[in-house]
Symmetry: C2
Subunit: 351 residues, 2 copies
């Protein structure tokens, strides 16, 4: 039973809970950021971390895509590497290179020596950015918070940045699983506190980014990475906060993700959306995705056809959130994003 | 019906043809290279491209892992970026960064302006390295040649190196498929000539590395990248040269790869080996893989158990070549590689 006129926020929250909607909601990972000229203009005067740390700037950047395109949800402009910073790790973003974290954390001694981590004390600016964003956004559009998942945070902390093969952490799975698990457990506690702070400040739901989970064998994901992410999902669900679970290259982990029963599992363009939606619905879970970011370069006809194809693949099932399979590329054309959002807005209801 | 005592070369070639073997053969992608102290010692005095270009050095490095571990096959020590070089592209490997190619090739004009490419004239040193390797290797061990696949070569040529999202080439799939296809077709012709030159010089079989194929949606892979790779496979099969098709992140492309009917499709640790082997065998195709390079850091007990598990998953089917799912990491421990090779050598026959 569809409702005739929902606000974007009602639509988004309903879809996250696999409830009926007038049409599926839409947002895009990395919708705020470099593909927008208004973002590049603002960044001309401010470093990336300044924008993240100053609530007024973060809120402004968070709102830019919603103003331009009218997505159903804004997602807080921030970074997944805030938590390492709360642990006293120096996190930098030198131009043209990936993030750099110092010192690395690789041994039992280094894990044990990490400070407790004062989330409200060090990351209070994130709560400030959420409050400022909500104030500017109003009550009718959904606002999403997020965090890196423990495995992905540990990838950066152990490697000291991004990496081709994540050989240090991936070998730890076999060399020193106890130290790795101790670190993941520490991170899970902090992520829960961090996400609760964001909810307290005004986000409607959260997405957990497990960007590098896809590097693991399914057995290793379930054995090493999933248990601490499960604790986060369970805590959010106990609180009544909808949670979306995202991984890059999630193909072999879709069933593992669904078994963890987040509200929604994000899938990428390499996953068959209809198949994933069917398996998800059987467990009462929704799916998010899965346009290829490359397809934003196609004409509006192609994008419109693909949106209708995805909608048909999901069928009448509730719980589908339109999105890309990864973040918007900095080179993405504005007309492509427009065509995607418009095509979803033109869809009829589910459920 | 297994044969009681095959040479390593007979075993490897038989497995590539899905014929019975006394036990499955084993080799490791990137078995020659930085994880070996004898390689690092040799490289102390020679730049990477000097080793590739001097047949005596290339042959020495190719033989190092076979001497140490006794794999069933050597694979020529070379680079997948030789063909761009034959097209007059400047290819460099600055220390600590990925390869850098100049100029990039992105427009119809730039593709049209590429020189014809004289493979024997510019890459004759590869044939020289094959001959020298065969001379030192003797007749009883298999020798594999290889090339990058057109899509993967085009990735490097269009991006000018490796890339996080390959946004230039991936957007060309939608922006300018004709120019992309023209480049891929040119590359396919050159790859065929290049692989035939290697066979003429003495390799027993070839592997086609389509490292970045896994970035594509299955539909786009089949529409854009596969047709030119299919031409290469068909040419090799007409010649009677066994061909292995490799991609990174091949999970969603296994059926597409099998449908192209190479002799063997390589799969990684994210793919269920037993499932892939079953689907491959139904088409008369073999499978290669699929230990996780991370598992080389586990003890010999774990590795031995996993080898027996993989062997059991393949069941009695012919056409399994033991390998990793990706290349050996530079940090890989020698005892791990030893344990893997030894465990395969201890297996009984298939078929």
């Amino acid at each position: 039973m569809s409702r005739p006129s929902m606000s974007a926020r009602e639509r988004m929250v309903a879809a996250l809970r696999s409830q009926p909607v007038d049409r599926p909601p839409v947002w895009l990972m990395r919708q705020a950021g470099r593909h927008l000229p208004e973002y590049r203009a603002l960044r001309a005067g401010h470093a990336f971390m300044d924008v993240v740390r100053q609530p007024e700037l973060a809120a402004e950047v968070t709102l830019q895509p919603v103003r331009r395109y009218g997505m159903d949800a804004a997602i807080l402009f921030s970074d997944i590497l805030t938590i390492p910073e709360a642990l006293g790790i120096d996190v930098r973003f030198p131009k043209g290179v990936g993030p750099q974290l110092k010192p690395t954390v690789r041994t039992a001694e280094e894990v044990a020596a990490l400070p407790p981590g004062d989330i409200p004390g060090t990351l209070g600016y994130v709560a400030g950015a959420v409050r400022e964003t909500r104030r500017l956004l109003g009550e009718d559009t959904a606002l999403l918070g997020f965090s890196g998942a423990p495995w992905t945070l540990a990838c950066y902390m152990i490697e000291g940045g991004s990496s081709k093969s994540y050989a240090n952490i991936r070998s730890m799975v076999y060399r020193d699983p106890d130290t790795l698990t101790a670190l993941l457990d520490r991170l899970a506690d902090l992520v829960i506190t961090y996400l609760r702070m964001q909810v307290e400040a005004g986000v409607d739901a959260v997405q957990v980014f497990d960007s590098w989970a896809g590097e693991l064998r399914r057995e290793d994901y379930e054995r090493i990475a999933a248990p601490c992410t499960q604790r986060i999902i369970d805590a959010m669900k106990r609180d009544g906060t909808p949670v979306v679970l995202f991984a890059k290259n999630p193909g072999h982990l879709v069933d593992s993700g669904l078994a963890m029963k987040p509200d929604v599992v994000a899938v990428d363009w390499r996953v068959d959306l209809g198949d994933a939606a069917g398996r998800a619905a059987a467990l009462g879970v929704g799916v998010q995705g899965n346009l290829d970011p490359a397809e934003l370069f196609a004409g509006p006809k192609w994008i419109g056809r693909r949106v209708r194809e995805m909608h048909a693949a999901v069928g009448g099932r509730t719980g589908h959130v339109f999105n890309l399979g990864h973040g918007v590329w900095p080179s993405a054309p504005i007309p492509g994003v427009e065509a995607f959002v418009n095509a979803v807005q033109a869809l009829g209801g589910q459920g």
